[in-house]
């Protein structure tokens, strides 16, 4: 029982990180039709810039805000330079461009920060909490609370604000949105900026637990991607649920089968989901992806 509780807590912590990336994926995918393979690199940039500022002596809150702003700016620059020109080309070219962006950003990370892993002090300084036999790192609770707050903020943003409505209009029907006078190009830029900021938050949150390296982005990005695919492509709640499932799957397969093979199991599940439920396990059928 204690073990089970421990797995659930760890799984939800990791899942929350993937969820933040998955939200970014969903936002970009629905507005632009692009799956941004570079999404994970924003987590790397966010984490490493935050560490740099914190080490330079800035207070941690200021470092976090600056890191998020810098990552968001890079997201915007990426959209304005690389993505914007190629928006009307084929899917393969778009995939390769985002992979190119990912490779480029990873390489810049390597040049700027080197290969050594960097650490960040815990954001919350508290004793671990004992709950139903499980030891909960306060950091985990903090991550989960941040996810809930961000979901609430995003809900208000998408449902209650003008820009949010415009973004949703682009999701539903880009052409109609364009005809209604919404600038879809600006919306695409906004989506990338937002997704980069969310990626940076995910990167900063996970760093106190796992340390940050220039290579950290790709795999957690792909996991967020997996979460989104499992949960369904078209809604933020679905993607978050999918990402939490990926987190749980990882810790449970790690606990009961083998930590070594947990990544392999995650991807095996992904491939099975793609075969049998290609629209995600929560979605109703529509024939776009097969």
């Amino acid at each position: 029982m204690e073990l089970l509780m421990q797995y659930i807590v760890t799984g939800l912590t990791v899942g929350s990180i993937y969820a933040l990336l998955a939200i970014g994926f969903v936002t970009i995918y629905n507005i632009t039709g692009i799956l941004n393979f570079a999404q994970g690199e924003f987590a790397m940039i966010g984490a490493l810039t935050c560490i740099t500022f914190a080490n330079a002596g800035l207070p941690i809150s200021a470092s976090i805000i600056l890191a998020i702003l810098i990552s968001a700016t890079i997201g915007l620059i990426v959209e304005r330079t690389a993505i914007r020109h190629a928006r009307n080309t084929t899917v393969i070219i778009l995939i390769i461009i985002t992979i190119g962006v990912s490779t480029f950003l990873k390489g810049m990370g390597l040049i700027i920060w080197g290969t050594n892993p960097k650490q960040l002090a815990p954001l919350i300084k508290m004793e671990p909490i004992h709950f139903m036999g499980a030891v909960i790192n306060p950091q985990s609770i903090f991550i989960f609370i941040v996810l809930l707050i961000l979901l609430a903020v995003l809900y208000v943003f998408f449902e209650k604000t003008y820009i949010g409505s415009a973004l949703r209009a682009c999701e539903k029907n880009p052409r109609a949105a364009k005809l209604m006078g919404i600038n879809t190009s600006t919306m695409s830029a906004l989506a990338f900026t937002l997704a980069a900021a969310l990626g940076a938050i995910a990167g900063i949150l996970i760093t106190p637990i796992t340390d940050a390296t220039y290579e950290m982005g790709f795999l957690i990005g792909v996991k967020g991607f997996v979460g989104m695919v499992i949960g369904g492509m078209h809604s933020i709640p679905g993607a978050v649920a999918g990402a939490l499932i990926v987190g749980l799957l990882e810790t449970f397969s790690g606990g009961f089968i083998s930590t070594f093979y947990s990544d392999a199991i995650t991807f095996l599940v992904l491939i099975l989901v793609l075969f049998f439920k290609p629209n995600g396990i929560f979605a109703r059928a529509s024939g776009e992806r097969v």
């Binding site: 799956l35 393979f37 690389a82 020109h85 190629a86 080309t89 899917v91 393969i92 070219i93 995939i95 390769i96 461009i97 992979i99 190119g100 962006v101 990912s102 490779t103 480029f104 950003l105 990873k106 390489g107 810049m108 390597l110 040049i111 080197g114 290969t115 790709f218 792909v222 991607f225 997996v226 695919v229 070594f260 093979y261 990544d263 392999a264 991807f267 095996l268 992904l270 491939i271 793609l274 075969f275 290609p278 992806r289 097969v290």
Partner: protein, 345 residues
Amino acid sequence: MSKLEKILYGNRLKPILFLVGLILILPLVVKSPYIFTILILIGIYSIVSLGLCLLIGYAGQISLGHAAFFGIGAYTSGVLTTSFELSPWIALTIGMVTTFFIAYIIGIPILKLKGHFLALATLGINIIFYILILGLNQLTGGAAGLIGIPSLSLFGVPLTDKLFFYFFVWTAAVLVLLLSLNIVRSHVGRVLRSIHDSEIATETLGVKVENYKVAIFALSAAFASLAGSMYAHYITFVAPPTFYITKSILFLIMVMVGGASSVWGAILGTTVIMFLNEIIRFVGHTYFGISGEVEIVVYGLIIILIMMFLPKGLIHVISKPIQKLKPKKKVSVKAHKDMISQKGV
């Protein structure tokens, strides 16, 4: 017919003769064993990128997992020749056949996916393969890798000499190239191109699209396996990092930089990227003192720029002026003028 073929596919004899000539002349010019190693690796990787080119450029299907098939070939050769002491040639054949069937079986469900999801699924396969070769350490040597893979020998002549191996690799590469060119020119090639343009339209013409997609996927995997076996026997050492997604991405970049719409692009792209790789490493390590995979910055930048401004790849830049030089064009211009004058415009 032959005239039509020339217009449709271009002249293939001249480029092949040029390539063969280049392969024969290079050993006379190049004396540095270091550059020779690069030339051999270009040959090996060209075989992979030729297969990938057929898959991406002709069938229009993406794969982010070809390093896994490259790895299956390398590890089959490595394990069978070291632990089971089989002949390298038998191991190489077993590797190719196994990879073909594995790719065929995986391909049946996977190639139903499109675009992004196909990319993600093949990426997943690469990650699973990587974890498996790390995990099955009794067979594969795990993270330490497999050492002591024997070199190839042909008709009793050991190919340990770089010159022999160079000719062997490039003979194989030219054969793969010829096979690819024939596939492209056959009805299969035309079906693949029509799948590339519209799967639905092809299907409504009564073509079983899945069969073609799966077959070309399996064939390109078998090419990758062949290259992997050669790599294992040349380097005589294999370790898991060589077969990670970064390698799959590198293969993809080679194909796209050269130009996926032509099989020649695959060889060109491989050559350009391999030399670039060495130059960047040299400059990065000697002048900037940076360790690790610095070359990825340049790869990333190059592939973004090529995709933005030259989506048809470098081969397009080279082949265009060559075609302009040909007198054939003048005739057609003249014929066009005649036609116009006849109409009295």
